[in-house]
């Protein structure tokens, strides 16, 4: 474990990523304390430019709502949807990949064709269709993101399980009479954990981008203030009020960048033998 931290902290990008993410998480957690009023509430005149009033440093939007408060509550939504939809995608992808890799044969064929289908379908278009038909709300958004993001998990887990399947310790477990379920759960899956962790951190980043793109198109949960919604709502007034779309975009960029940096850092730290040489 200490080795892991040593390797991880040697990666400058990863440390920067952790710092940025920590700030975003802190803002998300403290949002109700920092901004006790609802982010939907009108607090000042509309289109108040940034830095013109100390109380509202990032100005107000077309309805006089505090942009900074919107950003803070948006952080909650982005992180929540990013993490929950990734968890849901893992719940779908890991069993499918594990079953396909462990049992092979027909099961593998069927499950992998199924996975391939979801990988071929244009994922963003599918997410749009799903959310639009099942009405935009937080459940349908999370489900849609999970449905379009599980295939890489299944493929990764299948590959790992396939290579672990023939190891001696797995054979020993089979001989000792353990059931397939126990072997997969106790012996095989724990050994696939590090690549899954790396992939999951990158998936949270992609999920946040997906969520913001959906809410930008008007497919966000109407009760949640999200960064994508803020940019989408400001799109038509971009000529008068650039800051309304600028700041939420920077927030998305920084959060996604932080998660990508952490993912790369985790990759180098968890798989030292595969760490990219030449740098």
């Amino acid at each position: 474990m200490s080795d892991f931290w040593k390797r991880f902290s040697r990666n400058r990008g990863a440390v920067i990523g952790v710092v940025i993410l920590a700030v975003v998480v802190l803002v998300a957690v403290l949002a109700p304390v920092l901004f006790p009023q609802s982010p939907w509430r009108m607090v000042q005149r509309p289109f108040l430019p940034p830095l013109s009033m100390d109380q509202y440093p990032l100005g107000t939007d077309a309805l006089g709502r505090d942009v900074l408060a919107g950003l803070a509550y948006g952080a909650q939504v982005s992180l929540l949807i990013g993490v929950v939809s990734t968890a849901a995608a893992l719940l779908v992808g890991i069993p499918i990949g594990a079953l396909a890799g462990y049992f092979g044969g027909v099961a593998d064929d069927v499950l992998m064709r199924f996975t391939e289908f979801f990988q071929t379908v244009p994922s963003f278009a599918l997410a749009i269709v799903l959310v639009a038909i099942f009405e935009p709300n937080i459940q349908s958004i999370i489900a849609a993101i999970a449905i379009v993001s599980w295939p890489p998990v299944a493929r990764l887990v299948r590959g790992e399980v396939l290579s672990l399947r023939s190891r001696e310790y797995v054979e020993a477990a089979i001989l000792s009479g353990q059931t397939s379920a126990t072997i997969i759960w106790r012996q095989v899956l724990p050994n696939t954990l590090s690549p899954i962790i790396v992939l999951a951190s990158l998936m949270v980043a992609t999920a946040i981008l997906l969520e913001s793109s959906l809410s930008f198109l008007g497919l966000g949960d109407p009760n949640l203030m999200s960064w994508g919604y803020m940019i989408g709502a400001a799109r038509t007034v971009i000529r008068q009020a650039w800051w309304l779309s600028f700041f939420p975009g920077v927030a998305i960029l920084l959060t996604v960048l932080a998660l990508n940096l952490i993912g790369e850092g985790l990759n180098d730290a968890l798989n030292p033998s595969l760490a990219r040489r030449g740098r």
Binding site: F117, V121, P122, I128, P248, L257, R276, R277
Partner: protein, 323 residues
């Protein structure tokens, strides 16, 4: 080769049928009466109209019969009717398809050419400042929301600097013809194509850089060096050609994302393609049109995948020999 293409076409057909089946069940899974869903909102259509729809789609028949009717219709290029736009869905889509093809292909070429160039450049200067700059830019582009960078591009290049048009496909009312018109469209194309390409540029750059470094450590490169070949020739003939293989694979896999990205880019730039059409269908709750666009974009992706697969066999002679 012909056998290979036939096999791939069959596979693509199976996937397309699966997508149509998915579409069909989505309409049925949607909350509310399928006929009302097909008609847009229930409030916009009267009872008689919905009854007509029910008969036309055989919604009183068993589910599997309905699926058969639906699939049969698509085979005759009948993707249904858009009650919002008062036109057949297929006509609407085919009218918009050329603009999307122009946009996505231009974005793809920009991304591939600039991305691989930057990747090669960075790999040749590992650890130097130019590598740092290129790698950092790639990291940023990779994390930037597409719709946001598109909006910012409009703001900077169209609103503030007034260099390029930030809206539409061509100058409305100018009635240019011939070369003048092509030039006008090209000017309108620059911002949407570049912003759509940025993310993919970052992907190709990172892939090319990693792949070039990987290949340059292989034995045949050492042999080439030992023979005394000039570094430039080794770089171009030996390393680059081999390093491009994973990039080609990746390019094929990413076609779907390019089409998805077109929805966002076309919405921001009011580009009259199928992405914009999807957005219109979305805001008007025109589900027939929405599912039609989804189907056609999936078909586009499959076609694109097929082309890259064929290209891959042309680029890599080893695969041709094996099969």
């Amino acid at each position: 080769m012909l056998r290979f293409i036939l096999m791939r076409l069959m596979k693509a057909a199976v996937i397309l049928i699966a997508i149509l089946t998915l579409n069909f069940f989505l309409i049925h899974a949607a909350p509310g009466d399928p006929a009302a869903v097909l008609a847009g909102e229930a409030g916009a259509a009267d009872a008689q109209f919905i009854e007509q729809l029910r008969q036309r789609f055989g919604l009183d028949k068993p589910l599997l019969t309905q699926l058969g009717i639906y699939l049969g219709g698509v085979l005759q290029l009948d993707l249904g009717y858009s009650y919002r736009q008062q036109m057949p869905v297929a006509d609407l889509i085919f009218a918009r398809l050329p603009a999307t093809l122009l946009l996505t292909l231009t974005a793809f070429v920009i991304a591939l050419v600039l991305g691989t160039l930057a990747g090669v450049l960075a790999s040749a200067r590992v650890g130097k400042w130019s590598d740092t700059v290129i790698s950092t830019l790639a990291l940023l582009f990779y994390a930037t929301p597409l719709f946001w960078v598109a909006l910012m591009a409009v703001l900077v290049f169209s609103v503030f600097l007034n260099w390029l048009p930030g809206f539409g496909y061509e100058t409305v009312g100018a009635n240019y013809t011939g070369f003048r018109r092509a030039l006008d469209i090209a000017q309108h194309l620059i911002l949407p194509a570049t912003t759509l390409g940025l993310f993919f540029m970052a992907v190709y750059m990172r892939m090319t850089r990693a792949s070039m470094l990987e290949v340059s450590r292989l034995d045949f490169v050492k042999t080439a060096r030992a023979k005394g070949l000039r570094p430039g020739i080794i770089q171009r003939r030996h390393i680059f050609r081999n390093a491009m293989l994973p990039v080609v694979t990746l390019a094929g896999l990413q076609a779907g994302q390019l089409v998805g990205g077109a929805v966002l880019t076309e919405t921001v730039f009011a580009w009259p393609g199928i992405g914009r059409l999807m957005f219109e269908a979305l805001t008007q709750r025109d589900y027939n049109l929405l599912l039609g666009v989804f189907f056609v974009s999936a078909a586009m992706v499959l076609l694109f995948n097929l082309i890259t697969d064929i290209l891959y066999r042309v680029v890599d002679p080893r695969i041709r020999v094996v099969s």
